[in-house]
Symmetry: C2
Subunit: 360 residues, 2 copies
């Protein structure tokens, strides 16, 4: 009997999370910030995979700005497995690079892909879902984890199953379609139909299967990656710097998942998953009656409610204000209408235009 294939975890940690400015910066992006207790989002990601994937089989793709911080936060991951992309090229090439390296160092192995910046409130419940996903991957499928849609979110893509699915079934079922971010009307239909899940960006496959799909659906990038020397060769890093920028800038969803024929999905039950997309998401995760103020540190509210306040090291007094996001750092202070917190990225864009490097 052949040994079961090794399982590796690839954590995608190249994002900037500009919507968490001014807390997030190039060198301390969302995934390395400690919004909840003492562990950052990327540390929590590694923590919850631990029972299934030990640190020595975790791989991380990030960028040069973040790599030092990630190395120091994750001593259990071998430094040689924390790779810095020369430039960001979205998820399809990044996953392709990792798959190619893994197929070289551990032929026949499986990979699970996990974003570094998500929150899972019930990790044990979550890990149950990974086993059927890897089982399906071992059988040659590309598996995806779908989250039960809790509201008609227009910021996510959706996974469409051919018929109504039972959340938490712990079985991979054929996926009919990947659907791009819908408008609100469509999202409402998706939610009420009962056979759509949020696409949470977690994928599972044999590395050889992904590389095959890449050759079929993204041949230019596949050829470029195939031209790289051995991962163990001394010139790998220099060649990657030349080659990677030439890859297409495209997500795995568009490049592969929407086209592949062998896609299956595991429909999760409610594991307390959140993509923690904006300051408002942090407020929602923390809000409690009566006044629904969510705050870290010293806080004095007078007739104020629904506010999210993150200002360590100083007293924050609020008088008659509601539904604000207040984030204070040494060199920048953000005050936003909480319901408009998705617009915080605009601040970062303006700062980039003004060449305000120190604040990025």
């Amino acid at each position: 009997m052949p040994k079961p294939p090794h399982i590796h975890g690839l954590i995608l940690a190249g994002g900037r999370g500009t919507r968490f400015w001014p807390r997030s910066r190039q060198k301390r992006a969302k995934q390395v910030l400690k919004f909840f207790g003492e562990r950052s989002l990327i540390q929590q990601t590694v923590d919850r995979l631990k029972t299934l994937i030990p640190g020595e089989r975790i791989w991380i793709i990030t960028n040069g700005h973040l790599r030092p911080e990630i190395l120091s936060q994750l001593p259990e991951v071998p430094p040689g497995q924390v790779l810095a992309e020369p430039v960001g090229r979205n998820t399809a090439p990044a996953i392709g690079l990792a798959a190619q390296i893994l197929e070289e160092v551990d032929p026949g192995s499986l990979m699970g892909v996990f974003p570094a910046d998500q929150l899972v409130a019930r990790p044990a419940r979550y890990v149950r879902l990974l086993r059927p996903a890897f089982r399906a991957a071992a059988q040659g499928n590309i598996a995806v984890l779908g989250m039960p849609p809790l509201w008609p979110e227009t910021g996510f893509g959706y996974i469409e199953f051919p018929s109504r699915v039972k959340p938490g079934l712990l079985e991979a079922l054929p996926v009919k379609n990947f659907r791009e971010k819908p408008d609100l009307k469509t999202a409402k239909k998706f939610v009420s139909a009962g056979r759509f899940c949020w696409n949470a960006g977690m994928f599972f496959f044999r590395n050889s299967v992904y590389l095959h799909a890449l050759r079929e659906y993204l041949p230019h990038t596949a050829t470029l990656l195939a031209s790289l020397p051995s991962f163990s060769s001394p010139e790998f890093s220099a060649r990657l710097k030349e080659t990677f920028p030439l890859c297409e800038n495209i997500s795995v969803d568009y490049a592969v998942m929407e086209k592949a024929k062998n896609v299956v999905g595991v429909a999760a039950d409610d594991v307390g998953w959140s993509d923690v997309g904006t300051w408002n998401a942090l407020w929602e995760l923390g809000a409690r009656k009566p006044a629904d103020n969510v705050t870290r540190g010293d806080f004095l509210p007078i007739d104020s409610s629904g506010n999210y306040v993150d200002a360590p090291g100083k007293l924050v007094a609020l008088v008659g204000v509601h539904n604000l996001v207040v984030v204070d750092t040494e060199d920048a202070l953000l005050i936003a209408d909480r319901t408009q917190s998705q617009r915080v990225g605009e601040v970062v864009k303006l700062l980039e235009k003004q060449n305000r490097g120190g604040l990025l």
Copy 2:
């Protein structure tokens, strides 16, 4: 012909201005803060009196917390003339103390009383008004400066003249009544009647006249002050510490002005006077179309208007917020609805209750 009497200026600088927290603290109250350019409100007060009253005839009553800062801001005022009240007893005893000292060191002299924490946008125009006030004082009257009421303010007392007055007449006219802070309906009547002025807290008299009034209307305090030894004696300071706390805690308006028979008033024209009562007043003084954001320092507004921002040394980014007061200091951050900025004092009261000495 007898020499004309000397004119002295008494600047009342004992207030805390808690509504300017967190910028104002016990050791740097409103009157020593630089809200406008490089000169604090008390420095501006001395500056605008200069043409009429030189520094060596300026007297200041403040408290022990503020005295060091005032001494350093006003080198032109002799340190021996910057007095610290042992405790705050409102304006009637403080003015009585100064009048008694002045009657001792410069018998027959006049005093003008000026709050330390007001703003006058047109100082030259303002100084014109002082001459008729001092002239009336030299004739034995108690004179008061009235400001033309620009809106039905309920936070000020009013001066009632017997008939319609011409603002900027430069002549002292008999005053019919001092009116306490009115309700809004009454304030509206006052404004439309045309014979009411705001009481701006500036008074003019012979020191002997004030002391006489004090003996008549506040005999307990008058007797206590009269019991003090000579201002030049070494025991003056120790005896003041024992005696002053026993004085009545009462304003000059209630104790003297409402009762005295010889009160006259000079009705000012618009000299750009403001008592700078709240953060909102600072916003009003600075607001300009289109977005009406008033800000000191580095500022990045997105779809935000009507805000007052005081956060030196850092970038403040606003997203979709309106009519806020934002004041950032090293150890405290205030965010208030601008229209509720009179409630900022409540924060200080709560901090006092909680014994948060460092933040007061």
